[in-house]
Symmetry: C2
Subunit: 293 residues, 2 copies
DNA sequence: CTAAATTACGACAGTCGTAAATATC
DNA sequence: GATATTTACGACTGTCGTAATTTAG
């Protein structure tokens, strides 16, 4: 189970082709074929069906291990690299769409006043991507969001040591089309909407799986899935009646044709959490202080 | 970062010696020396101080990654092996000391009545060891214990997909010497004992780090550390006044010279959790049903 | 028949063990 | 000076690419 072999395996599954994977990894297709053969011989079971190329049951299972494994390998390398590198005068922030609030903008402004030479890069990413960016050293700090019971932490992928800290807890809200029968209500119960049509927008709003878990309820089935990290686009779909989404009330304002209604029960919050390496640079510490102070 | 190299690195750190590590792994010292040199060259930084042998700062950091990485590698292999193996007529149960209760004994009795040919093996292990046993296929089922807020899950190492489920929640109790001033109380507040002398018995009672986290409090400093998984021995130490320990009230009975007093605040429970692979065999399902039904 | 994966095979790199050298307590 | 790690070196295994072969649509 050499990491190189796992990398090839993942690439083949992702692309559905030996040749495409080989090209992406800079190998010949022959080499990739040998990699898969070596893995299958090592594990004693076929991992891929050929023509069309796809994972077997064992292959599916291996994929669930291979990705976190490769991520942690990257994270370990980045972690050691952080110990020796010279700190560049740049702060990279991986930010969930709903975490990009006036409070964050103000905190960044304060930071830039305090450190005029500091270059700041903000990247809007989904939760796993954001955590991954911190772990691999691509970002210095991440702000991720989700729904949880009050003061409960968000479920984050555990691929290495990192520090997490609550930045904000707001009421949870449901984004409805302005024409929705419940749009005028001051508040609503989430369970009343379990059988409604929802949009699963895991990188933009609260992932539906998390909503189900937090509400300890079934339902919340997705009719439509929305990729990417653009809130406005999600608002368009909600306004057009494709389904509902769970959000923080603040970020839901200004989405034309929609109304955000607070969730009164079960008692859930929209939580923003800070994720950073255990040994943050000074600008990171300052920003964290500004966001939690 | 070949896993073989990481394995050698971990072995050297654990044993504090290249030669001892080589012997344990079936290599020559020379090979292990080359492994470490290769790792250090790859990561571009020294990982070990020599004479005496010990990890550098970067080495400490690498250790935090290497162990979970190797565990997940084992877990992946075991996971795939489970898909193809023939199920043996044997159930191996990895069990925390405090999980070995009359309820468990009864459930096992019921299982053996229902499946007379089934061999049962019970191994008493600490939490991480128990989870590790399930992940690597050494055990079919684990019962782990700890302290948490009511209905909160225990913090378990995340090294692969597994199913966890609450088996029991009892009040949390503190084990005191019979002569302790608080021994007669019907209940006590944990925070009153934050500055008491504690014994850290992570594999036998509630780990102190977990107690601190659950109580959201500092304190609970260990004067004495107790390894192993024998409750009676821990009782001896408590009775002799070496310190206190947190436990479930049921398991604390019959420890001579000690008294268990219930914790009334903060609201915490002693929780027993079931851990098993996602695709449990029939006897495992039956036992889980008996324990949660 | 064509696109794509596998197999055969030679060149090369990497890893092991033996043994000599070197460093530390 | 004894013990332990490192280095040198030869043997061997494993992995890559090229190219021929097989297979499935």
């Amino acid at each position: 189970m050499d990491p190189h072999l796992l990398r090839s395996f993942v690439a083949v599954v992702e692309r559905g082709s030996f040749s495409a994977a080989a090209q992406a990894l800079g190998y010949t297709q022959s080499a990739v074929s040998q990699h898969i053969a070596a893995l299958e011989a090592d594990l004693g079971t076929p991992l891929l069906r050929r023509r069309p190329v796809g994972p077997t049951e064992a292959g599916e299972r291996l994929m669930e291990h291979a990705r976190p494994l490769l991520l942690r390998l990257e994270a370990a390398r980045a972690d050691l690299a952080r110990l020796t590198r010279v700190r560049p005068a740049r702060l990279t922030l991986a930010c969930a769409p709903a975490a990009l609030t006036p409070a964050l903008a103000d905190a960044l402004a304060g930071l830039r006043r305090a450190a005029p030479g500091l270059a700041v890069e903000v990247r809007v990413l989904g939760r796993d991507e954001a955590v991954r960016a911190v772990l691999t050293g691509a970002a210095d700090l991440a702000l991720v969001t989700g729904a949880a019971a009050p003061s409960d932490p968000l479920p984050l992928p555990d691929a290495g040591p990192m520090t997490t800290r609550a930045a904000a807890e707001e009421p949870l809200a449901v984004l409805l089309p302005a024409s929705h029968p419940l749009a005028g209500r001051p508040a609503l119960r989430l369970t009343d909407l379990a059988d409604a049509r929802w949009i699963d927008a895991p990188d933009t709003a609260v992932p539906l799986a998390e909503l189900r878990a937090a509400a300890r309820s079934d339902g919340f089935e997705a009719q439509v899935t929305y990729g990417g990290t653009d809130l406005r686009g999600l608002g368009m779909l909600v306004a057009a009646g494709h389904g509902l989404a769970a959000l923080a009330p603040g970020v839901a304002e200004g989405l034309a044709g929609t109304v955000a209604v607070r969730v009164s029960a079960p008692r859930l919050v929209h939580r923003t959490e800070i994720v950073h390496p255990r040994d943050p640079d000074e600008p990171v510490r300052a920003l964290v202080a500004a966001l939690t102070g």
